[in-house]
């Protein structure tokens, strides 16, 4: 009996609430906005909305922090990729610049090749004498390319030296700055003959000039063609200092080499006709 009353009470409560909510819904559905909060609802909202707003702000802050965090991660990945790309471009740029410079040098060498009367072959410097900086260099052309001993080696700027050793694929060049080197020259302006010798220094020494010679610093020195190695008229260097010693019959001068002997990369080997 008690159970029955309890069930009935339960059902009455349920249907009562059901009808209440359906009535509420019906009135809501009929209203233009389909929503009427009413006085009780407004009071509840007046209390809870500020709390809800505060909570929403907290959520906004967390969301912003999260977005920032994910953005930082994304930017870090992007930054690493861009750095990698930049490094790659830097390497590529350096390689291209190197190629451009080599191109310029080769272009000058090619132009000079046209001016030289004899046959010639271009060669790359592949080694240097590390013990004596201004001694010898090795080039990648040899007897297979027609290179012979004593062949003159030049650049577009001037005389470099002569070949002293030849293998089928390479050759060793004695630079004019080497103490074993001597080149017959003529001072271009005054036409006085002399010999330029190396002393394993940056400068060359012009010897055997007549004491009466009017050589001046700045005078250009070219090959005389009398030594039997170098053809006539190749630039050797420029006089930087004239040495007149008391009692000496002959003059000496210091000559700055025309070719950059410490920065050789490509050279021209003159071949016999």
């Amino acid at each position: 009996m008690g159970e029955l009353i309890a069930v009935r009470r339960r059902l009455v409560l349920f249907f009562g609430l059901f009808v209440f909510v359906v009535a509420l819904l019906t009135t809501q559905a009929r209203s233009p906005d389909r929503r009427q909060v009413g006085a009780i609802g407004t009071t509840v909202l007046a209390v809870l909305l500020p709390v809800q707003t505060g909570m929403a702000r907290v959520a906004d802050g967390v969301q912003r922090m999260w977005s920032l965090y994910t953005e930082i991660g994304r930017l870090r990945v992007e930054n690493a990729k861009l750095r990698e790309a930049l490094d790659g471009m830097g390497r590529r740029n350096a390689a291209l610049r190197e190629q451009a410079l080599a191109g310029e040098r080769l272009e000058r060498l090619l132009g000079f090749r046209g001016q030289v009367g004899s046959r010639s072959i271009a060669a790359n410097v592949i080694g240097r004498d590390v013990a004596k900086w201004f001694g010898t260099v090795q080039v990648d052309r040899g007897s297979r390319d027609g290179v012979r001993r004593n062949a003159p080696v030049v650049t577009a700027d001037g005389v470099v030296g002569r070949v002293i050793e030849v293998t089928p694929t390479a050759a060793r060049v004695l630079l004019i700055a080497d103490s074993r080197s001597a080149v017959g020259v003529v001072v271009q302006r005054v036409r006085d003959l002399g010999v330029v010798e190396g002393r394993n220094e940056r400068v060359l020494h012009l010897k055997y000039l007549s004491r009466t010679s009017d050589v001046q610093p700045g005078d250009v020195v070219v090959t005389s063609g009398q030594g039997g190695v170098f053809p006539k008229g190749l630039a050797v260097g420029r006089i930087t200092r004239v040495v007149r010693e008391e009692g000496e019959l002959l003059l000496e001068a210091e000559v700055e080499p025309a070719a950059a002997l410490d920065r050789l990369e490509e050279v021209l080997i003159l071949l016999p006709l």
Partner: protein, 165 residues
């Protein structure tokens, strides 16, 4: 009276958390609704009357706070869910976390179906059926995951007030 206040407090807190925070965290369109396991838990532990009262209160509060829709859409569906779960009063062993989870899964699906029916009756737009069904199942899974915690919360409240009396 203080028990009513405790339940009201839990209800209000959960409703606010759901509307202000959980509604932002959608899992493939589904939103966790902690009020559903609470209603089912109250129904199972306290009976159909309590389930119905807490259900209608929770639903109306949700309608009020979530804004936009007419009052009573959630109220009606949660009333039925709360009352229906009361039919299984004390027949589910809540110490086993699986049973509250299963009850919540079924209750969430029932609530979802009712919500769609009410929404259709009052002329609200309902998304395509496949999407609705997928969301319902996902929400049921999410709600089931937190059901053991909420059932235990109800148990704690009940134990405390039983000791006081």
């Amino acid at each position: 009276m203080s028990r009513v206040l405790a339940y009201t407090g839990v209800l209000v807190i959960l409703a606010l958390v759901q509307v202000a925070w959980l509604a932002r965290v959608q899992v493939w369109g589904a939103i966790l609704d902690p009020l559903v396991p609470l209603i089912i838990g109250v129904g199972i532990l306290k009976g159909a009357e309590s389930g119905a009262v807490v259900g209608v209160a929770a639903g109306l509060l949700q309608d009020l706070l979530s804004g936009g829709g007419p009052l009573g859409v959630n109220g009606l569906s949660k009333l039925v869910v709360g009352f229906a779960s009361g039919m299984f009063e004390r027949s589910i062993y809540i110490e086993n976390p699986l049973l509250p989870a299963i009850a919540t899964f079924i209750g969430t699906l029932l609530g979802g179906v009712l919500l769609v029916i009410v929404a259709l009756l009052v002329g609200l737009g309902v998304p395509p059926w496949p999407a609705v069904v997928a969301r319902m199942i996902l929400q049921a899974v999410l709600n089931s995951a937190i059901a053991p915690v909420l059932f235990r919360t109800i148990r704690v409240i009940e134990t405390r007030f039983q000791r006081e009396h």
